[in-house]
Amino acid sequence: MIDDRQPPVLEARGLTKRFGGFAAVREVSFAIRSRQILGLLGPNGSGKSTIVKTVTGLLEPSFGAILFKGRPMGDDLTEYKRALGYVPEQPELYGFLTGWEYLEMVATLRNLDRRLFRKKASAMLEGLTLYQSRDLPIGSYSKGMRQRIVVIAALLHNPEILILDEPFSGLDVASALVLRRVVRLLAERGKAVLFSSPVLEQADRLCTHLVMLKRGSVVASGSINEMREGFAGLDLEAGLIQLTEQLDADHIAESIAAATTTC
């Protein structure tokens, strides 16, 4: 059971990120508690990845604060980073390392015991069907294989907070299914999960709470049930499109098809 009264593990307060004069994220606030899976949902360019990069410490916020267990994350950055497992949007990896070497490097960076690493990595590689390819250079991996390596690297150290930026991109159906169940099980076991995706279907299947974004600002937030109730008769997809896109999909599709078939 998710208890909304318990203190958040991770909280963003008035988060704003500017790139020059352009505000990619404006006054975004949310909180994630243990056992929650919070989905950041929005179309491309809505600021999801910027929020994720700011929360992971890869970008400095222009204004606002990130709190870890009620304290600014900079107060004990080491502890915060130790508690963090991060899957980035693009699985950028060192192509000249093998999958095993990469995982070993991450585990060593995180001070993981070598025997424990071998046990964990072997099990995870088996589970995500990468064990046979573990000694091949990552440069030869497909996007889905890279994505799975990144997921394993994020889980190796048993993180308290899991931040997943479009983690299903490039995964095959079976791996996506396994990952979805893993994330759900980890949340049930007390992890706090921040999940970013432009695909409503994935968020709907996985998340307990949602934050909907449009052009860097929050347009709706709450638990999945609250969101459904808030759309007053509309399903989630229709509600999301109404909030974020406001486009006439039929009209646009008609004009593209007409342009394609013009001789």
Binding site: T56, G57, L58, L77, T78, K81, L84, Y86, P88, Q90, E92, L93, Y94, G95, F96, L97, T98, E101, E104, M105, V106, A107, T108, L109, R110, N111, L112, D113, R114, D135, L136, P137, G139, S140, A153
Partner: protein, 560 residues
């Protein structure tokens, strides 16, 4: 020279104009250096009125031929991966309705045009200027400027073409015959050694007079294997000024070019099929793992034992140096060039009857390991600055607290590991064979001490995890940096060798080394401590590349 922003490689990114300018620079620079030599007025004063400049200009022709061959060869080696179409071209072109032989022809034409442009850029200045200087300076009847320009242009272009074809033939034949993964594994090492060979050829251009004299005296010496001498012989033959020894070598120019050209065409056809049309076939196997496993195991012996940032970073750095293309080429050039110079220095004094322990070793012999050490340490230090898969550094940035870690010790340990395996142990073995183990141990400790000092100087203020930061811009200071490193090299090798010789006269003087090192260490600790108190130094890791220039302008007028 490295333009920032190209994230994934340390490749030089220049516009066409500056690139052609840089390629033309060595030849043009050499022409202007010769102005004084070919001044007719000065020659009149010097009494060289009856000198046949077509003969006495042979060393300069040799220099120009070396430049033509080496510069074209170096560019071909550096751009090897771009010469043939790659998988990206295949993915873009294969779905289009273009026949494969059209793609082949288009690519071959592009290569031809590129070679012509390259040869024109490299040779253009000397083709126009050098013959004019010589014919103007000549006070006796020689060939006319047009004849001279034609013969000079012909030989220079042939030499450039040979430089290109030789590289293409070697790499192309290997690419065509070796299994794809084996070629991939050894290609960058091979390219590094080729680069070192071309740099050696370029440097040997200054030895033209000696080489020509040696060839005249001993026509069948190994010197005759130097390709620029073949083209010089052809040059002199065309101008009817070749000696008998040279006349013998002249046909080699045509034969070598014919063979290289033939092999180039053959390997192009075969490589095209393997690299382009077959680019998506087969599974990539671990690139060179079996070849490099032994080297990795040796270098890992120097790794930190306990798990954590330092162990992970050390192993990452070693693997990057051995496996990433740019770093591999850079390191192989440093090692090959270092050993080339070291062997050259040592070979002049090594006695054919070793094991004489009664006399002091020559300074040239003592300088040999110092030369190899200097170039290796400098090469590694520079290699650390080149990024490898830069976008992948997020793993370090998202995992580490930058204020908590230091990377200086890691960089130092990596340098020490390479130094031990590539310089200190071979030096120990060689001197043990030449003299005795105790002397070898003493000399090796001396080389180690000086190398550690050099490492500390080069790593002062180092705060990065190697390869994880954008390449620093050093274009504005490049000439000065090169000059400083040249001075450093000469000082380190020559003065270091003389100092060692002085210490070996009275071995007790060697105790000065630990004393000096301890004093330097204490001084540095005090300096750092004071700077820390004053808040003048930044500590912790950095993922930025803000390098202070070697020369800073004081901007004294800005305040007005």
């Amino acid at each position: 020279m490295v333009r920032e922003g190209h994230a994934d490689s340390a490749e030089l990114q220049l516009g066409v104009g500056p690139l052609l300018g840089i390629l033309a620079a060595p030849g043009a620079f050499q022409c202007f250096l010769l102005l004084e030599k070919y001044s007719s007025l000065l020659n009149w004063f010097r009494g060289r009125r009856h000198e046949d400049l077509l003969i006495s200009s042979a060393p300069d022709k040799y220099m120009f031929l070396s430049i033509a061959m080496a510069v074209v060869g170096i560019v071909t080696v550096l751009k090897w991966d771009r010469i043939l179409p790659d998988s990206q071209d295949y993915l873009n072109l294969a779905p289009l309705p273009i026949r494969p032989h059209n793609i082949l022809l288009a690519n071959a034409t592009a290569i031809g045009i590129a070679v012509v442009v390259l040869a024109t850029a490299v040779d253009g200045a000397s083709i126009l200027l050098f013959p004019v200087f010589v014919t103007d300076a000549s006070l006796i009847a020689t060939a006319g400027p047009i004849d001279f320009i034609a013969s000079h242009a012909l030989c220079m272009v042939l030499a450039s073409l040979f430089g290109f074809c030789a590289v293409f033939a070697v790499l192309g034949e290997l690419a065509a015959t070796l299994p794809r993964e084996i070629f991939r594994a050894c290609s960058s090492w091979l390219r590094g050694f080729l680069l070192a060979a071309f740099i050696g050829l370029l440097l040997a251009g200054f030895s033209g007079p000696t080489l020509i004299r040696h060839l005249e005296r001993v026509p069948h010496s190994p010197v005759r294997l130097l390709p620029p001498l073949w083209y010089l012989s052809l040059y002199q033959s065309i101008q009817h000024r070749s000696s008998p020894a040279m006349a013998e070598l002249a046909p080699m120019a045509g034969v070598s070019l014919g063979v290289a050209l033939g092999l180039t065409v053959l390997s192009y056809g075969l490589s095209y099929r393997r690299r382009f049309a077959g680019v998506l076939e087969g599974v990539r196997l671990p690139s060179g793992r079996s070849v490099l496993r032994f080297a990795l195991a040796l270098l890992d012996c120097f790794s930190y034992r306990t798990s954590g940032f330092r162990r992970a970073s050390y192993r990452f750095v070693i693997r990057t140096l051995l496996r990433n293309e740019a770093q591999r080429i850079w390191i192989s050039v440093s090692v090959a060039l270092g050993w080339l110079l070291a062997l050259q220095s040592a070979s002049s004094v090594v006695s054919p009857t070793p094991r004489s322990t009664d006399s002091l070793p020559e300074a040239s012999l003592l300088a040999a390991p110092l030369m190899a050490a200097y170039l290796l340490v400098l090469g590694l230090r520079l290699a650390f600055e080149f990024p490898a898969a830069l976008p992948a550094n997020w793993i370090f940035r998202s995992t580490l607290n930058c204020h908590e870690h230091e990377s200086l010790g890691i960089a130092r340990r990596v340098i020490l590991a390479f130094l031990t395996l590539l310089v200190l142990l071979p030096h120990l073995a060689f001197v043990s064979w030449l003299r005795s183990f105790p002397i070898a141990a003493l000399q090796t400790v001396y080389v180690l001490a000086l190398s550690l000092g050099l490492t500390e100087v080069l790593l002062a203020g180092y705060r990065k995890i190697p390869f994880t930061c954008p390449a620093p811009g050093f274009r504005e200071n490049l000439p000065l940096q090169c000059f400083l490193q040249l001075l450093g090299f000469v000082g380190f090798a020559r003065i270091g060798a003389e100092l060692e010789r002085w210490m070996l006269v009275e071995p007790v003087r060697l105790l000065l080394i630990p004393a000096a090192m301890s004093a330097a260490y204490c001084w540095n600790q005090v300096r750092l401590s004071n700077a820390r108190v004053a808040g003048e130094i930044e500590e912790g890791l950095s993922f930025e590349s803000c390098r202070s220039p070697a020369v800073q302008q004081l901007q004294l007028l800005d305040g007005e």
